[in-house]
Structure formats: C-alpha cells, structure tokens
C-alpha cells in the first residue's frame, strides 16, 4: 500500500477523544437478567403497577425471541447474563435542582462540551443529560413549561404525566417488535420524554445527551416524543462512552408521534466508543427508532451522523399513515478500523399522497464494513405515493467494504419511485491533484468527505452541524450550499 493510502487511512481512523472515564460512585444491581431484575428496576424507579406489568410482558416476550441474524454484522454471541442492567450515580438531585448533581458527573458533561447549567448552556438548546441509566439534569424547563411543553426525563414523566406516557408508550414500537426492542422494554431505565401541545412551535432545540460511564453495564434508554396537532419540535441526540476493552451494549428505543400537521425533526450525532484500531472493545449499538406520522400533513425527519460504535444496527423509520404526510431520512454512517454498520430506514406509505426521501451516505475506511439496508413499502391505499432514494458509498483504502440492500414492496400502481446509487473511492489521483494545488492530504480528505456529506449536513441544526464537522475532522466552511 502506498504512503498516500496510509495517510488517508490514518486520518480516517483518528483517536477517540471522549474515551475518558469518570470516577463516580454508582449504585448498581448485580449482573444478569431475570424477572426479579425487571421487578427490581421498576421498584428502584418507584413505578406504577401498569408499567411493571408492561415490562414483565416485554420480558416474557423477549425470552421467546432470538437475536436477529439477518444483518451484515459479525460479533461473538452476547451473554445477556453478563450485563449489569442498572447503574446510577449515587448522589442524585431532586428533579429540577442542579445543586445536588454529583460534581464529577457535572464535570464529565462539561468536559464533553455539554454544560448542564443553564447560564453556561448554548442559547437555544435545552438539554436532558443521561448518565448511565438515569437522567441527571434537564435544563430550561421553566421556559418550556410556560408554553405547555413537557420536557423531562422519562422516569419523571411516568410520575407527573402517567396518562400521556401510558397512551403513547409502545404505540409506535410495541415491546414485541423485535429482540432488542423487547429487551429495552423490559429493562429500560430512563430516557427523555417530550410533549409539545397543540399549535405550539417549540422555540428551542431540545436535546438529550447520553453518556455511558459505568463498567459492564448496558444502556437501555427510551425516548418518546409527541407533537400534538400543528406543533413542531426539533430534537437532538448525542452520545459518547469511555474507551474500554470489553464491548458494551446499548439498546435504545425512540418513538415519535406526529399528529395532524405536526412536524418532528430528530437529529442524532452518534459517537459511542468505536473500539480500538484492532477492533477490541466498543459499543454494540442496537437501536430501534420509529416515527409515526399519525395525522394528515404531518412530517418526520430523521437525520443521523453515525461515527461511533463497534457495531451499529439501526433503521430509523417512518410510518406514513396520515394523508399527505412526509417522511425523510438523511444519514451519514462512517465505519473505520474494524467498525461495522448495518443501517438504513423503512418508509411505510399507508396514506394518500404521502412522500418520502432517503439520502444515505456511507463512508468506509480501514477494515470498516458499511451496509445500507432500506425498505420502501407502498400500501394498497397509498394512492400517489412518492419516494426518492439515494444511496452513495465512499471508500477510503481498499480493505473496507460497502454494501447496499434496497427492498421495495409496492401494492398500489400509482406509486412513483426513484432510486439512485453510487460507489466511489477517494482516489490517490484526487489526493495528488489537491496536493499539487497546495492542500495537505488531510485537508484534501476532509474536503472530499465533507463534499460527499453535505446533503446530509445541511439538514442538521447549526450546533450539530458544527459537532458533526468536528467529528469527521471536516471543515464545512463554504462547501455547504
């Protein structure tokens, strides 16, 4: 291999910057999973009976399910009895007060650039900070409450708005949906909840920042976002974890509900620890994300930048039930070193005149394996449905792989489908051309990668575009737009 390729690969496989570990005293339960563990989690959280019942049903369903094996990923079997299902910092604040947040937890988030004190926060972004299994702080609640917007940890929502939680929990992703969704439903420990009432435009970005810290634990959070008629909200999610040799499991569920004319924009910058250069360690990220455009003229947009995790298995999807509803999926997935990603989306058209857009950009470097798996389904009654799909792969070096599996199922002949796909490689001739014009190899790679991703980056809210740019080591300036 030439030196050029080696430098390109070195750039694409930079060190993980968020791998530090915080010394926080944690309250954990013993390893392993059983009905007792499920009960114990529910009890620790002081949950009502109906939620415990729901968890138990999920647990019993999970016992009957098997690990999915259809994805293009390879790993040793996961020992579900070797995982700790609950870990929480010992010092916990009363809801709404930040004074009692463990200073070490607070420092952790500061180090990550996520201040959990409002006066230090990015203006216009409210944050729910989740540390291991629990939410430790939610900012700007008072501002939001004036508009009737509920934004709090999932546990708190269960206490303060049980009716809303009960109405919508599992209504988009039922506990029986798949192996990991069932597991999550049985043992989920916290997450974020958001409700935007009728006609309310949420004036700031809402965001959840997930941090795994404790050893040998899994993180199982749930996010539930409901936008009532005519409401709109933009939601951001970020995540990191320490560098560890063993793999850690993250199995989250996100449910979005958009009623008539509501709009939800959900953006993710996923940067879990990807493992080391030789593929040791890293997070197994098995996530179920689904949005339901329940009302007419509603719209759900998923934007994701997936740079972390040893394994990523996720397919943020939209059920387009309301007439004229719109689903969008914009994705950049990066696999370097020995990372594997099997990701994509499902667009399920049920209502009339529904539209969906899929833009997927996969970047593979090192030994990375990147798979796009997408499904577009047009139901019998979905007259005049339209879909546009575009899947592009960019290869850096010659030991990585890109794979595309588009599935299409059409039961209404009025559907219009458009599909484009491309695979390209950052060529040494491109790098040399850039260098001959005075640019360093690093700048050249950044420029090409950023050009490749810009269709997706421009969908991200500003703060996240900046984060995503930093993550890819990419200078976006000027190349966007």
């Amino acid at each position: 291999m030439s030196t050029e390729t080696r430098t390109i690969e070195a750039l694409a496989t930079q060190e993980y910057k968020y791998g530090f570990e915080s010394d926080v005293e944690a309250e954990t339960i013993p390893r392993g999973l059983s009905e007792d563990v499920v009960r114990r989690i529910s009890e620790l959280k002081g949950e009502p009976e109906w939620l415990l019942e729901w968890r138990l049903k999920a647990y019993r369903t999970w016992l009957t399910l098997e690990d999915p094996d259809w994805a293009n990923i390879h790993h040793d079997p996961i020992d579900y009895q070797d995982i700790i299902y609950y870990a929480a910092p010992k010092r916990r604040p009363a809801p709404g007060s930040l004074d009692e947040v463990d200073p070490e937890v607070r420092r952790t988030f500061e180090k990550l650039g996520i201040p959990i004190e409002e006066q230090k926060a990015l203006s216009g972004v409210a944050v729910d900070a989740v540390f291991d299994s629990v939410s430790v702080a939610t900012t700007f609640r008072a501002t939001l409450e004036k508009l009737g917007i509920i934004f709090c940890s999932f546990s708190e929502a269960v206490r303060t708005h049980p009716d809303l939680v009960r109405r919508y929990l599992g209504s988009v992703v039922p506990y029986s949906d798949n192996f990991f969704a069932a597991l999550n439903s049985a043992v989920f420990s916290d997450g974020s909840f958001c409700y935007v009432p009728k006609g309310v435009h949420c004036p700031m970005e809402l965001s959840t920042y997930f941090r795994i810290n404790a050893r040998n634990t899994g993180q199982f959070e749930r996010t539930l976002i409901v936008a009532d008629e005519g409401a709109d909200v933009s939601y951001l999610e970020g995540c990191t974890a320490p560098m560890r040799d063993e793999n850690q499991l993250h199995a989250a569920v996100v449910e979005l509900v958009a009623l008539d004319r509501a709009t939800i924009k959900y953006s993710t910058v996923q940067n879990w620890y990807p493992g080391d250069k030789n593929g040791k360690g890293g997070i197994y990220n098995f996530v179920t994300k689904r949005g339901h455009c329940r009302g007419h003229d509603s719209k759900i947009t998923w934007t994701q930048v997936e740079t972390g995790s040893a394994i990523t298995w996720k397919y943020p999807s939209c059920i387009l039930q309301g007439d004229r509803s719109v689903g969008e999926f914009y994705s950049v997935a990066v696999t370097a070193n020995y990372q594997q990603a099997d990701t994509g989306t499902k667009m399920i058209h049920l209502g009339k005149d529904t539209r969906s857009t899929i833009v997927s950009k996969g970047i593979s470097a090192g030994h990375g394996q990147n798979t796009y798996r997408g499904m577009v389904k047009i139901g019998r009654h979905a007259a005049n449905a339209r879909n546009y799909s575009q899947c592009d792969s960019l290869l850096i070096g010659d030991r990585c792989g890109a794979h595309t599996f588009p599935y299409i199922e059409i039961k209404n002949t009025s559907a219009q489908m458009e599909h484009e796909a491309s695979t390209s490689k950052i060529g040494e001739d491109q790098i040399f051309y850039c260098r001959q014009r005075g640019l360093s190899t690093e700048d050249a790679v950044n420029m090409i990668v950023s050009g490749f991703c810009k269709q997706v980056f421009r969908e991200l809210p500003m703060e996240f575009a900046v984060e995503a740019q930093k993550l890819l080591g990419v200078s976006l300036e000027g190349s966007v737009g």
Binding site: S2, T3, E4, S424, G427, E428, D429, Q430, F432, Y433, C434, R435, Q436, R437, G438, L439, S440, T441, D443, M447, I448, S450, G451, F452, K454, G478, S479
Partner: protein, 262 residues
C-alpha cells in the same frame, strides 16, 4: 530557476527517465516535445512530486533548494503549478471553494493573510473575464462532468488565479478548439515576467505560434535528444521525430489527431 541534472526515475520496475538535463532560467519559456510514451508526463510528474515516481539518480534544484526533498504540497506552495494532462474530477467539492482553499494555502505559506470572500470574488471576476471563463463551470464540482476542453480551461483558470512562479503545462493544448487554444496561450503569456518561467509540453508546434518559446527540447525514450530554438519545432513538424538521432519512434508528429482537431 530550475536546474535538472542527470535525472533518472522509474515507476514500479520500469525506468522511464534515463538521465535528463535541463536548465530553465527565470523569464524563460521552454517547450518539451516528443513521441507518445517518451516520458514527458513523467518528467512533469516528477517535478510536481507525484508519489508513484521514484527518483533513482540525479538532482533537481528549484530556486536554490533541493526540490526532491519537498512534499508535493510544499512544491505547490513554493510556486510550482502543474496543469494536468488529465485533470482529476472531485465530485462534491465546489470548484471555487477548492480554488479558494488552494490560494489561501499558498498565501499562508508566503505569510500573506487569507483572502476573504469579497476579495476572492473580485480576483475570480477579473481572471474570469481575462480567460472568458464560464460562471456556470465555476459553480460546479471540480472538473465533475466537464468536457475535455472545459477541464483544460479550468486548469488554466486555476493557474491564472494562483500565479505560479513555475508553470508546467502538460499537453494543455491537446483537445482544444482554436479559440480555447488562444485562451490558454493568453493565460501563459499573461504570466510571462522576468521572475517567472514555464515548461510547456506539447505535440503541436501550432501552440508555439502563440506562446513563443525560448527553447525547444525533444524527449525520446527518457532522454532529451535534441534542444534548439523555435525553429526546431517547425522542423519537427515537417519531418517527424524519425529523423532525430536516438529517436526510436518513427511516428510523424503530424499525426491524425492533429488533423482531426485542427
């Protein structure tokens, strides 16, 4: 400005340059001609630092420095510009954005401040009108889907903006219509000055009607087999390379490509 001594270079196991000596002084334009496969692009590539070429012997001194010690981007920042025989496409990267980054890299190296958007736009405008460059091409990704001639024009446009000290043009005239040929020549001539130089690789003496060279060199099988004045190019056109001692290639320079493009 540029002094090449006994330069040998290979790619893989194949020796391509077999002892080149060439001296280009500031203010001069040198033409390099020679049959296909004789090593003209290799010479240009070695000067620009193309990684697959390995120099096995000889030296190249550029403005008093050992050129072969410098990385390709350092050479570029030191004022060496190569107009590629086959310009490379970079999808997704805007042409002007690319050029701005290149210009600012060169300026930073010289300790000059970066041009801001307004200054850069003004510079681009002036060069555009000088070269009759199409606005639409500039707003597209670098060379992406450009026609052969458009790519060549873009090379010259970049050269005009970057104002290199030593411009190396590798068959920039090939595939150009007569108007474009004049544009290319105009671009090179506009840069002519006592402290700049150019090496122009071409198959056609026609270009040399517009860019009048100080010297003409004929490369054959990795060596310069003849050097002379402007007249040498005319003679070559008439007689082909065959008459030159040491030239193995008997193809006449007036080949069918020339007829087709004239």
């Amino acid at each position: 400005m540029l002094e090449i001594r006994n330069l040998h270079a290979r790619v893989g196991d194949k020796e391509i340059l077999k002892g080149i000596d060439l001296r280009v002084d500031a203010g001069e334009v040198h033409a390099v001609m020679g049959p296909n496969g004789s090593g003209k692009s290799t010479l240009a590539g070695v000067l620009a630092g193309r990684p697959e070429y390995v120099v096995t012997e000889g030296s190249v001194v550029y403005r008093g420095r050992n050129l072969l010690d410098l990385q390709p981007e350092e050479r570029a920042r030191e004022g060496i510009f190569l107009a590629f025989q086959y310009p490379v496409e970079i999808p997704g990267v805007n042409n002007l954005y690319f050029l701005k980054a290149a210009l600012n890299a060169v300026r930073a190296h010289r300790g000059e401040p970066e041009l801001d958007a307004i200054e850069f736009t003004a510079l681009v405008r002036s060069k555009m009108s000088l070269l009759g460059m199409d606005q639409e091409l500039l707003s597209r990704p670098v060379n992406d889907g450009f026609s052969g001639g458009e790519k060549k024009r873009n090379e010259i446009f970049q050269m005009a903006v970057l104002e290199p000290a030593l411009a190396i043009l590798d068959e920039t005239d090939s595939g150009l219509d007569i108007d474009a040929l004049k544009v290319v020549a105009g671009g090179v001539n506009a840069l002519r000055s006592p402290d700049r130089a150019a090496v122009v690789v071409t198959h056609y003496q026609r270009l040399l009607n517009y860019i009048v060279p100080d010297q003409v060199h004929v490369l054959s099988d990795g060596r310069i087999v003849r050097s002379g004045g402007r007249g040498l190019a005319l003679e070559l056109e008439e007689k082909g390379y065959g008459w030159l001692a040491g030239a193995e290639d008997n193809e006449p320079a007036r080949d069918s490509r020339l007829e087709a493009r004239a």
